[in-house]
Amino acid sequence: MGYIHPIESAECRLGFTRPEAKGAPSHNMITSNSTGFGNLSSVTWTDMDGTGLTEFENDALNTRISNQANLSTALLSAILGATNGGLDSFSLTDLGNHPTGQTPALNLQTLKKALGVNLSAATQLTLQEWRRLAISLENDAALQASKRSVNDGGGVKTVNGKWFINGQEVNLLDVYMACRVNQVSNFDGSLKLHMNDLTASNKLVKAANEWLAKIRALKPTDTSSKIAWSKITAAGNSFSSTFGYLPSVFMPTAWGSADAGESYNYLKFDTWVEECKNYVSQKDTDNQVTQQKLEQLTNRRGEVLEGLTSFIKSQSQNGQVTARNLG
């Protein structure tokens, strides 16, 4: 079981290059979250849907992943077979055309492309060296797969304890935090919308109450007097230039049915006042609904943040227990 006893010397035998030593990035270099993945310092959206591959790039990637996965499986199977047969090494030539449809030449090419390993088909490697290569192939296949969008089988990938997203290796905390930060960012988007609605509604209610006061001031003080509609529309235009809303917003029925040449008594004014009050009442109800939505969103946002901090805490506790036990 090679993952318990890593063989460092295999690297030299297999010609692994250390990209950091040469100063050049490598396809299998472990990146250290260079794009600030899952950064909570500003709650910004992190796209976790792959690297935007074209259809052609996707097809080429799928072929590469398939070759690597098949070769890895074939190597692990060959290791078991070699153990049963009492062999302690084998070559790619010994694998023959396994996995099905992959010649030794294709397998060599797959190893070179994925891991930068230069072998010949006849090179004999020990079982542990082959296991290390097989695991590295699995890891690289997962890294490549994470470049695809979620709909194409990409997204977050994990294998052999490693985590990959958008074609880079990250740790679980980065992935977890990115998911939570995106959730919080979405909640913030919805909160902003609802708060804008609340603000707009409050402005309308304030203006409606102002118009209500104006209508009450214009209302005839006795039962016989009447007020011309032209006087009311003039007041409405003046109101509109101050508050930015036409009174027809608060009393659409009245405004739509009134006759331009008519005059109206106190009873009509009462009807208009009632219509305006109903509008304010409706807006208050709408505001209550929006307020409830805001509270619900805020609570859910809080739950997400709590979940994140509790995850970080559990990771930290794990680290402390492990350090105490094994340090």
Partner: protein, 266 residues
């Protein structure tokens, strides 16, 4: 091999009872080889495992006991090469542990077992995180759309519904026309104004603005609720994962303490 080992143990019992201190393989009064094996098979197994011929000289009881243990161990090792369904898997013989035809310590076996469980938990967590991430992407897109609708209403201009989805082909779009319509019908219902507008490729204005905005809010809330469930699931998986890690390091610590205690005492 296991049967031969049992036969040797019986022979040792017989020898002890009769005060015999050593015997030959051919001493039929003491040792009865297993019926299921031929002489050639017994010779092959014995010489391979014990390192001497079956037909050789006498062995004392201690040597016979050692030989029987070696045969048992090798039998366990070979059995561990078989799949679990055929009686293979992890084997424990005479305090030694075997799996996949190789010998390992108890700690190594337990660690490997825990690590397998750990990887399985990681697979579950991966599925959950991808679910949350997919819901996040969809919600993000719906938020963008809702903002577009809200902005167009505040500007009092009409809004072409075709601006709502990505103009890439269906397979590459984050939110395609067909997906948006499917969401509207699924989450809002068959009377969705948005779905009707999408079908007709028409515009949104007037009284439809608020309906479309409300429907988008409903869709966002539904995806958010899905995420709540996935979030709770992922939190419980993370707890199990943490406990497993703690358990693993406790196991290793316990083994260290045991080794220390043994070396101190002996």
């Amino acid at each position: 091999m296991a049967q031969l080992a049992q036969a040797i143990y019986k022979a040792i019992d017989v020898a002890r009872k009769n005060g015999i201190s050593s015997f030959l393989p051919s001493d039929s009064d003491v040792l009865t080889p297993p019926d299921s094996s031929t002489h050639a098979e017994i010779e092959s197994a014995f010489s391979e495992v014990v390192g001497r011929s079956w037909s050789g000289s006498e062995l004392n009881l201690r040597q016979w006991a050692w030989a029987a243990r070696q045969l048992e161990n090798e039998s366990g090792r070979i059995l561990s090469s078989l799949p679990r369904a055929q009686g293979g898997g992890i084997q424990n013989v005479n305090g030694r542990w075997f799996v996949n035809g190789q010998a390992y310590s108890f700690v190594e076996i337990c660690t490997a077992n825990r690590v397998h469980t750990y990887f399985a938990i990681d697979d579950l967590l991966q599925f959950n995180l991808n679910t949350i991430s997919a819901n996040n992407s969809l919600t993000h897109k719906l938020n963008e759309i809702q903002n577009k609708v809200a902005d167009s209403k505040s500007g009092n201009i009409y809004f072409l519904v075709e601006h709502l989805w990505d103009d890439k082909s269906d397979s590459n779009a984050k939110l395609s026309r067909s997906k948006l319509k499917e969401l509207a019908l699924g989450l809002v219902g068959t009377d969705s104004v948005l779905a009707v507008k999408i079908d007709a490729d028409s515009i949104v204005r007037g009284e439809d603005w608020d309906s479309v905005k409300e429907e988008l809010s409903t869709m966002i809330a539904a995806k958010s609720a899905d995420n709540q469930i996935a979030q709770q699931r992922s939190e419980s998986i993370v707890n199990v994962r943490s406990n497993l890690l703690d358990g693993l390091s406790n196991l290793l610590k316990g083994q260290q303490n045991l080794n220390g205690s043994i070396s101190r005492n002996f």
